[in-house]
Amino acid sequence: MFDRPWMLVGLAILPILYWLERRRDRPVRLRVPSLLLWSELPERTMAAGAARTRWLRFLWIASAWSALVLSAAGPFLAGSSGKGRRVAVLLDRSAGMAARSEDGASRFDQARARAREWLGGLAAEDLVRVETVPPRETPRPFVPVSEALDDLASLVVSDLPGRPQPGDVSLAAGFQAGVEVCVFTDDPRALGDDPVAVVVVGEEAANLAIRSLVAGAPGASHVAEVRNYSKQAVRAEVEWHLQQRVAGGRELDVPALDSVTVEWPATGDGRVELRLRVGGGDALGADDAFRLSRTAGGTIRVAAVGDVDDAILRALRIDPRVRLTVGETAADHDMWIWQGVAPRLDRAGEHFVIDPDGAVGAIEIGGWIEPRTLVAASLVEMADVSLRGVVITGARALRAPAGAVALVQAVQADGTSQALIVRDGAVTVFGFAPGRTSWVRRPSFPIFWHEQLSRIGDAASSDATLTAFACGDSLRLASAGRWIDPEGGDVRLAGAGPHLVSPSRAGWYRFERDDGESRLIAVNLVSDLESECAAFPASRGLPALPPPASTAPEPWPAGRALALLGAVLLSTFYLRHGELARRR
């Protein structure tokens, strides 16, 4: 087994070396005026001896190179004398972690305390490696717990922005199997995509201050831990917290959130106006703004001081309540991403047909948005520019989240003229007013989708303040009417809301208000995720560490010997057969 198995990629160079060796012996073709002057030179042939020499030469260089690569890969003997576990701690020490909560402790302090607490549960023989984001100049080796604690104590917050990226967990683990990685960060968004994360302790503190303000609860209670969950579950955990918000009608005062100032004064009519003042820096990302927008029940105004990331504006614009007071700087923001699709559209017409088996499906973002649905969504986006109607074929497009979001979004783009028709679950035709922009490129599935459903409910009930679709497959409707479940039959919702309905499966539901208005609602949640969300524990404690998976591997001392051998072979080869020898 190898400590750094990716280094074995270096062995792929061997065929190239062989090719170079062959090329080295190939005679140069030289056109001369006459062979007269060359007649004294003995004519040679490619004798068998030369070929044998070439093979020997290749074996020599191949052995040397292989030895170097193998030693660089860090060979070790599985099941050797080590008994401890190998644990990596990935601690976010980016600038954002310096933010302090109400009790005065910075996010970094909180994260480090949690890390220390977690390390305290390890055995003395366990080996720990502490990695940080942003990384330190020199990667740290696996050391005993006591040394790791000292290392942890010496860490300070960096002044660099950043957050864990996909791959950081793998990097912290040294890309080794059997290493448990604990991540302490204020922003675990990207970690869920990491393929080898064994343990993730996510501290969803990015929204900590806001949530604690909104909910009136101390931030410490919102620290979350996710353990042994799939990437969907990790994301769902984040979204779960977002579901806990309290929306609307509350006056808030957020004094500081790094470089973002949030003001939320009451308007006196029960509506809320949230003002974000962006003071520069990149602590506020697009997703942050998106989440902020969803915490607001009223109008959101963005007053920009300095540069405002275009992504923030885009994120805010997904909410029709958002009023941008900094100018339409993002007017053409989305055009570039659809360049690959746009040439396929017939701009002269008003309708477009996408073949579900067409050749567009090469686009893929992440692993869970189907290419076809992305195209469907992009068509909706294009429709904002110049179209009145879109035809999307293929039922799968409707079942997938992005497609559903796109469809629902298109429906809500114009509350009075939309038409949504489903024929056999295969063809959807809808129309809407042109010129409306209502698509976010990275919908935070599935919450965003919930929001859109909520908005449909809102549109159906003019007196409702909010309709939310909660995590447990429940849709909260504010109006009286009928909830028509295709399988479960009609449910009469009497009186003013909230009424909770629970679609039990993905499909199309209809909500009819008493005054005759009706909305068709698509429920397309991935069933596995739904169940995970539903099964998520209401109260979470610190998870116990899993039992040791295996004995930790011991480095193989022969690795160094291999490296030495490789270096000697390489140098002697170069001296004897390399360019140096040729020149000599």
Binding site: R26, V28, V32, P33, S34, L37, W38, S39, R44, R582
Partner: protein, 298 residues
């Protein structure tokens, strides 16, 4: 370089001021005894000699006779009339890759031929250009005056190097073509076998005077190569695989030295002018310095 002007105007005017020094190769014409049949050229007084029976009375200098009581006839000498033939080896072996410093053998040959043609035509001599290829001569018309210089240059500009040379046969053909004794300038890499030398001897025996310019490129003088090489003869396509190292380089240089010496000895033995010309020497230097040093031009 082919079909491009060989000289610019400034260089042309400089070349025209040069004169051919090879007096011995000009055709002397005497008036008086035995020289009266020649035509053309100018008569130039040389000396008096006593009258002898049979002398043309038109040449008796009566003034001198009156003063000395003896008859003297004027001895005239026809002004020398250069008769030059420039034979260019137009085989594929002459086509070497040109570089910034080295225009290549064929281009050097063409420029040298053009220079000779201009110089001789300027002195009202007779110039004929010829390209040797495949054992045959491609002959130009005879150029007699400066007015023909343009035609001579055009002839050279249109020449191309390809095929085999067969210089021996071509020179033998020249011996049959030129009746009047001429200076025959041969511009070649002389990478030929023995028959070439035989033809040169024949030319010499017929009263011509061959002048050999042995053109060699720097790559031929000192090959810039190393390791395994497949040599391909540019004329015959024959190939040969050698491994070129220090020992092989030494052998090559010995062979080259012997080759050049053999030509030098051959030319000296038969009273021919021989000069090895590296092609990386500029034409200007060749014409205005080296040719003077070799007593070919002034």
């Amino acid at each position: 370089m082919q079909n491009e002007p060989l000289f610019d105007a400034a260089f042309l005017s400089r070349v025209r001021r040069l004169r051919l020094l090879m007096r011995g190769v000009s055709r002397p014409g005497g008036e008086g005894a035995g020289g009266g049949t020649r035509k053309g050229g100018f008569l130039e007084f040389e000396e008096h000699r006593r009258y002898s029976p049979g002398d043309d009375l038109r040449f008796v200098d009566w003034n001198v006779a009156a003063r000395s009581d003896h008859l003297f006839v004027k001895q005239y000498r026809r002004e020398e009339e250069h008769s030059l033939c420039v034979i260019i080896d137009a085989s594929a072996s002459m086509e070497s890759t040109a570089t910034d410093r080295d225009p290549g053998k064929f281009d050097t040959a063409r420029r040298l031929a053009a220079a000779f043609a201009l110089i001789v035509a300027e002195t009202r001599g007779r110039v004929r250009l010829a390209a040797a290829r495949g054992g045959e001569l491609q002959l130009s018309p005879v150029y007699r005056s400066a007015a023909h210089a343009t035609a001579a240059l055009r002839f050279l500009e249109n020449l191309r190097a390809f095929g085999t040379a067969g210089l021996g046969d071509a020179l033998a053909a020249a011996a049959g073509s030129f009746r009047d004794p001429s200076t025959i300038v041969v511009l070649s890499d002389l990478l030929e076998r023995e028959d070439c030398r035989r033809s040169l001897v024949t030319l010499r025996g017929a009263g011509h005077r061959p002048v050999l310019f042995h053109l060699l490129t720097p790559a031929e003088l000192s090959p810039d190569c190393n390791g395994p090489i497949r040599l391909v003869d540019s004329e015959t396509g024959e190939d040969r695989f050698v491994v070129f190292g220090a020992e092989e380089r030494r052998r090559y240089e010995n062979r080259l030295r012997a080759f050049l010496e053999s030509w030098q000895v051959f030319a000296g033995r038969h009273g021919m002018h021989y000069q090895m010309v590296p092609t990386d020497v500029s034409l200007s230097r060749l014409l205005f310095r080296e040719m003077r040093r070799w007593r070919i031009l002034s």
